[in-house]
């Protein structure tokens, strides 16, 4: 019997289970940093004078990055209920709080969609009617790739996501008070259809936001690729948040090395899954060598971007997969949290690799706006998430499977 087990005979006291006044501080920090960074980025983007092309690519990067994290969190919540998982109960509330960022992401989405509706062609090629008129391939898909339908689809996706995240979180928080098991059953029954809705909206959002940057190109697995990155991100973020919370004295008796071990296992498994999806996409297109499909990979293989591709393979897959294989790494919270930070950085790099060659096919171009937009969007999302869930308990204290989750031991 581990010493941890004997310690958890009593739980964390209630004050160690909320953010308390820290929530307000973090909210303020998030909003301030977020708005300032975004404003600077916007001004900079205008100053470059390329019709905001560079800015919108950076903005898209930041938007899809934080969207993927929120989607990962939503996936975590839904799958947890769907399979009635035990170990993941301790983290579920944290994931629910992260899904509270959807309204903020909705606002950020407007920052993308409204300029397109207003006639901006800076981001997507298919928004430019002159280009479309002379391009047979774009003409043929015009009924899908047009600004109004794009906006409608975004609204639908966000409606689904916001509704789902609110539904799950509201009842989860309600259970804190009532301890009603029927709520868990309800959520379990809903999670089936919810997963279907999640899969369709996430995949199509991936097609719309990222795949249409190269509108001549198509790949059926692209939605799954976006999802894979999202799934890695959530487990990494949970590891980081747990570590930070425990460092601040919260949830020390709730989360054990066993839980970190499982977070690490899931993050590692999804890293392998991501590599599998990325590899299938690449290898199939490369092997068949059909020009209309290889347009995506040509810049990523034959220009300066080939170094970025190599970095992605080695540092987004090989290094973390081998590095996080050992159980000693996974059971050591600070080490795992460090790897988690690393993976989140590489995830941003992955999206950078997907997006930027559409802007600059021949050369890798970093720009401070990328970082500014990322920090900006991050701050705004932090503000948004804490606005929704800053005051709730960090633990689903009356979840029927909580006890088993806390006592859970890996083999």
């Amino acid at each position: 019997m581990s010493s941890f087990e004997s310690a958890i005979s009593s739980h964390d006291p209630p004050d160690r289970l909320t953010l308390g006044p820290a929530a307000l501080r973090l909210k303020g920090l998030g909003l301030a940093v977020g708005v300032v960074c975004m404003a600077v980025a916007i001004v900079w983007g205008l100053a470059i004078g390329d019709d905001m092309r560079r800015f919108f690519h950076s903005y898209l990067l930041a938007f899809t990055y934080f969207l993927s994290i929120a989607l990962g969190a939503l996936f975590y919540v839904v799958i947890h209920h769907l399979v009635s998982a035990t170990w993941s109960v301790v983290f579920r509330r944290l994931a629910e709080i992260i899904t509270g960022a959807f309204p903020a992401l909705f606002v950020l989405m407007l920052g993308l969609v409204l300029p397109i509706l207003a006639g901006s062609h800076s981001l997507f090629l298919w928004t430019d009617s002159d280009v479309v008129a002379h391009d047979h391939v774009l003409l043929v898909k015009q009924s899908y790739l047009n600004a109004p339908f794009f906006a409608v689809r975004m609204l639908i996706y966000f409606a689904v996501w916001m509704w789902m995240s609110r539904y799950f979180m509201k009842r989860s928080v309600q259970q804190d008070e009532t301890g009603d098991v029927a709520l868990s059953n309800r959520l379990r029954r809903v999670s089936g259809p919810a997963m279907i809705a999640y899969a369709l909206t996430t995949a199509w959002a991936g097609f719309d936001l990222l795949m249409s940057l190269t509108p001549h190109w198509f790949s059926t697995i692209f939605g799954v690729y976006y999802f894979a990155g999202a799934a890695i991100s959530i487990y990494c973020l949970l590891a980081i948040f747990s570590f930070a919370l425990q460092r601040s004295g919260r949830m020390t008796r709730t989360i054990s090395p066993e839980h970190y071990h499982d977070l690490g296992k899931m993050a590692n498994s999804f890293t392998l899954f991501w590599a599998y999806i990325g590899f299938s996409q690449f290898m199939l297109i490369w092997a068949a060598n059909i020009p209309e499909e290889t347009t995506f990979f040509r810049p990523r293989m034959f220009t300066e971007w080939k170094w970025a591709s190599l970095v992605l393979i080695i540092f987004h897959f090989v290094v973390p997969f081998v590095g996080m294989m050992s159980r000693h790494v996974k059971r050591n919270p600070p080490v795992l949290a460090a790897w988690a930070v690393y993976m989140l950085l590489l995830h941003a790099f992955d999206l950078f690799w997907v997006i930027m060659p559409a802007y600059s096919p021949d050369a890798i171009v970093f720009h401070p706006m990328d970082v500014l937009c990322l920090i900006g969007a991050g701050g705004i999302c932090l503000f948004g998430a804490l606005s929704v869930g800053g005051n709730v308990k960090l633990l689903a204290v009356r979840d029927p499977r909580l006890e088993a989750s806390i006592r859970f031991i890996n083999q």
Partner: protein
């Protein structure tokens, strides 16, 4: 106690003491009534400092490893090494076999194409890892070990179903017959028994039938290899076996062979009269034959794009097909003509290739309509062969386009030159 022990022995003829045999005292076997009791007892035995002892259970009891003080096995490390070996083997194999020993050209893919090597590399990694895990585990467990003293005890037969046991070997340095039994009983044993076995020289040897079986199967297993070796190193004059007759004697006719189906006994047939292959109908007279309403076309067909680019393509084709006879300037003094002159063919009836640009010649090609020139290129004229089997229609039209350009250039006046370029002529 003694009668209990007798009842619990598995009866065997070998219990008789034969000459040369000895009784060996193996150790003590204690039974416990539950997994929980086993764990507690194990902890006590571990703490008492015993080393040569073991627990026996029908399933892996949780917590038994720390209760016994078992150290983590080295197996994962071995498996990792095995896996890496698999990866390296796969990559090396594919590189050497496809990129070095015999370079396979396959759809223009690089000989050493990592993307297409990954599936096999992955599979071999898994295969080697699995083999290492499998063989490594049995090896580390020292299995197969079909015989063991504990199997002599009837009570022990429960160990694989419903029984929980601890066995302590007498070889253990801490073993004392009375003290050890006391420890086991106080830890909660339901029963403690002595385990002994007798060995006889016959028992120590491998049983004859088994030996015979191993020998026989080994010999039989070598027979196919012997056959293979024989046939690979000898020659035979006899025809080989035809196992699948259909494969070797096929019901088809080869070109230039006989067929008894047709009256003329030929296997080669002409195409059925009146049939046209798909895409071969070629109804467009203008494009395919240079004719408009039965007359030579005076215009280019609409399929031909009149542009600099097509002109250049026509120039290239002209250089390839026409200049050997007609010359670079289409004046009829190509290299073949020059050679003919040099070897004196003029005296034996050599006809100079036509000058295509001379308006004063008897055959004024400059006056000929586009379609007529096209027809000449396609079907030949006099001693010139037809080129329609070598040059597709579009290319022939491009040659006509280019030829018109040369003709104009050789019969041009100053008015034909754009004003901006006239100073360059001076």
């Amino acid at each position: 106690m003694a009668s209990d022990e007798l009842d619990n022995e598995v009866t065997a003829e070998s219990d008789m003491l034969l000459p040369g045999s000895e009784t060996v005292f193996y150790g003590l076997l204690a039974e416990y009534d539950s997994p929980g009791a086993l764990l507690q007892a194990a902890e006590q035995v571990r703490d008492a400092g015993y080393e040569k002892w073991d627990c026996h259970a029908p399933y892996p009891v949780h917590g038994l490893d720390p209760a016994m003080g078992i150290r983590s096995t080295i197996l994962p490390v071995l498996v990792f090494a095995g896996g890496i070996t698999g990866t390296a083997t796969a990559i090396l194999m594919q590189w050497w076999m496809n990129a070095r020993a015999w370079q396979w050209v396959a759809s223009g893919k690089p000989y050493f194409s990592v993307a297409q090597q990954i599936p096999i590399a992955f599979e071999l990694t898994v295969l080697f890892s699995a083999f290492t895990a499998f063989w490594g585990m049995w090896f580390l467990n020292k299995l197969p070990q079909v015989w063991h003293p504990l199997f002599r005890k009837k009570r022990f037969l429960k160990a694989s179903s419903n029984g929980f046991f601890i066995s302590v070997e007498s070889q253990d340095p801490s073993f004392r017959r009375a003290d050890t039994e006391k420890l086991l009983r106080e830890a909660g044993a339901v029963a403690v028994e002595e385990v002994s076995y007798t060995t006889s020289p016959e028992q120590r040897n491998v049983p004859r039938p088994l030996l015979g079986f191993i020998l026989l199967t080994t010999v039989l297993a070598l027979v196919p290899f012997a056959f293979i070796a024989k046939y690979r190193t000898t020659h035979s004059d006899k025809p080989h076996f035809y196992i699948v007759g259909d494969m070797d004697f096929q019901q088809k006719r080869r070109p230039q062979s006989e067929s008894d189906v047709f009256a003329d006994s030929r296997a080669d047939r002409v195409g059925v009269a009146g049939t046209v292959a798909r895409g071969e109908l070629k109804e467009d007279d203008h494009f395919y034959r240079g004719l408009v309403d039965g007359e030579w076309a005076t215009t280019f067909p609409p399929q031909l794009e009149i542009s600099e680019r097509r002109m250049r393509e026509g120039e290239e084709r002209f250089q390839i097909y026409c200049t050997p006879c007609h010359g670079q300037a289409a004046a009829g003094n190509g290299m073949i003509h020059q050679r003919a002159m040099a070897v004196g063919a003029g005296a034996t009836g050599w006809v100079q290739p036509l000058n295509l640009v001379d308006t004063t010649a008897q055959l004024n090609v400059v006056r000929q309509p586009h379609g007529q020139i096209f027809n000449t290129i396609s079907n030949g004229i006099r001693t010139m062969p037809g080129y329609k089997s070598q040059i597709p229609e579009m290319d022939r039209w491009k040659i006509v386009l280019y030829l018109r350009a040369i003709q104009r250039s050789r019969n041009a006046s100053i008015e034909d030159v754009p004003p901006s370029k006239r100073p360059a002529l001076r």
